[in-house]
């Protein structure tokens, strides 16, 4: 589970059913289990007004479990990038009262939240639950490039090659943690890379 550190580091909760008639779930990999767990506590008929968008992990598990919830709409996508156009369209057509539930890796939660923020949904109204990998998205403060799936501390920027300290300081707007050059003052200092966000 993602540990709490500094205040800008997001803290994720547990999905719980919200009032309203329209519910949109976006999840990847183990995030599906967060949805099933919540379903056990949801009122009857809750999923009649729900859409579930799911990006399975490499093991392709949990698809059947989500389909068994019989939501109004179930959509399986191979990646977030492929889900994106559909998500923007759905949100563009949606009305106030739609509730959002995001579950899975931090990268998925952050990127889905980004799109929802653009569409005018307040972030505090979104339900989030972290499951699975702790891998991070990181923005290099120097070249502005975003590196996906960062699991080590420090980490190399995949765009400009600088060795970066992966900070806990997080931007919701960018859906990424901040990476700052770790050896700017003395380039000969090269701290060893360790697995920190498996």
């Amino acid at each position: 589970m993602a540990a709490k550190s500094i205040i800008s580091r997001p803290v994720y909760g547990t999905l719980s059913p919200q009032p309203g008639k329209h519910h949109l779930f976006i999840a990847d990999a183990e995030g599906a289990l967060a949805i099933s767990d919540m379903a056990a506590k949801a009122p009857a008929g809750f999923f009649d007004g729900a859409e579930i968008d799911f990006i399975p992990g490499p093991d392709n598990k949990h698809v059947a479990a989500l389909e068994a919830l019989r939501p109004a709409q179930f959509h399986q996508a191979p990646s977030f990038a492929s889900l994106l156009p559909r998500l923007k369209q759905t949100l563009g057509n949606a009305h106030m009262g739609l509730r959002l539930y995001l579950a899975g890796t931090e990268g998925l939660i952050g990127q889905a939240m980004q799109v929802a923020l653009e569409a005018g949904i307040d972030h505090t109204s979104m339900q989030t639950e972290h499951r699975g990998s702790l891998a991070r998205r990181m923005q290099c403060v120097h070249c502005k490039g975003i590196t996906e799936n960062v699991t080590t501390q420090p980490s190399t920027c995949s765009h400009c090659g600088l060795l970066l300290l992966v900070r806990d300081h997080y931007s919701r707007r960018l859906a990424a943690f901040q990476g700052v050059c770790i050896n700017a003052e003395d380039r000969s200092e090269i701290p060893p890379m360790e697995e920190a966000f498996p």
Binding site: P19, G20, H95, M96, L98, A119
Partner: protein
């Protein structure tokens, strides 16, 4: 350190009865300069010197923020209140010099909104007059739904209809016209913000329905026009300043404290902003909490009171002032 507002020396430039309950007042600066500009939803606190009694009441600024040669407010006459509105209606005439506060905004627009949906009840129309003028000036997207008891009491309905045409809908109680609230709240685009100002019952109804229909609370904004209610007189000891005061029927506890020369901070005078929150040192009696600031637990604990709107009945009350 306490916050506060600067004061403005003004003169009443016009007094216009609008209907049988509502009168409009216009103020200009005594020195002839432009008044400070403001944001739609702001109010000013008007000092009413009524003989040896001073009342301070907040009133929403109704005019467009784009034109500050004068400020306009509308006051609804309340015959059973503590007399502030009666003072305005009976004693304030053009030419009278008065003191008001700088504008304070506790009900501001969320400028990120893709659409502003406004619900007004009765005299609650006043802050929306300024907000719609501000939004219209920059091509903003808004829709205003206004309920009033009768057409004649639909203060400014004609003006609004003329300015905004289909962006305003009117509902008259005496013709049984009601807002179809559930339908209205189910058909707004994502990114709409909801604003409601009117009687407490209307505000509670709208907030409850919005929550039930899935609206997050961050998108729902409301302003109560709670005026301090009169009540039985009671005595209070102010522990820090070492004074004992009596709060009259027609006086709020805050006004009584101010009359004794003690100046707690305030901004709204209506029990919502939290500025005048006062600790209770001891009491023997019961509180009449009329505010919307303290929690249920705070109300029950007897440790705090909002002197701008709340009162007390009993044998003794000692406050940390």
């Amino acid at each position: 350190m306490s916050t506060g507002t600067t004061k403005l020396d003004v003169v009443v430039s016009d007094v216009v009865p609008v209907n049988e309950l509502v009168t409009r007042f216009h103020f200009r600066r005594r020195d002839g300069e432009l008044l400070p500009t403001f944001s739609g939803g702001a109010h000013v606190v008007v000092e009413m010197r009524d003989g040896d009694r001073t009342r301070l009441n907040p009133y929403s600024l109704m005019g467009s923020p784009l034109d500050t040669r004068e400020y306009t407010i509308s006051v609804r006459r309340d015959d059973v209140g503590r007399g502030g509105s009666l003072f305005m209606h009976r004693s304030v005439k053009p030419g009278l010099e008065m003191v008001i506060s700088y504008p304070v905004n506790l009900f501001s627009l969320d400028l990120r909104a893709k659409k502003h949906l406004m619900l007004a009840g009765g005299i609650g129309i006043t802050p929306f007059m300024a907000q719609t003028a501000q939004l219209a000036g920059e091509g903003g997207n808004f829709e205003l739904h206004y309920t009033c008891r009768t057409a004649s009491l639909g203060t400014y309905a004609d003006v609004l209809r003329e300015r905004y045409d289909r962006r305003i809908r009117l509902y008259h109680d005496d013709r049984d016209e009601r807002i179809d609230l559930d339908r209205l709240l189910s058909t707004q685009p994502l990114g709409t913000h909801l604003y409601v100002c009117g009687p407490a019952g209307m505000i509670n109804w709208v907030r409850d329905r919005a929550a039930a229909l899935g609206w997050p609370s961050e998108a729902v904004h409301f302003e109560h026009f709670a005026a301090p209610q009169p009540g039985l007189p009671f005595d209070v000891t102010l522990a820090i300043s070492g004074k004992t005061i009596r709060v009259d029927e027609q006086q709020s506890l805050l006004e009584a404290i101010e009359a004794a020369g003690v100046d707690p901070p305030y901004l709204c005078r209506g029990g919502v902003c939290g500025q005048c929150e006062t600790n209770v040192i001891s009491y023997d009696g019961k509180f009449i909490h009329n505010d919307h600031w303290l929690s249920e637990e705070d109300h029950r604990s007897g440790c705090k009171i909002m002197p701008c709107v709340s009162r007390f009945e009993g044998r003794s009350l000692v406050l940390e002032r």
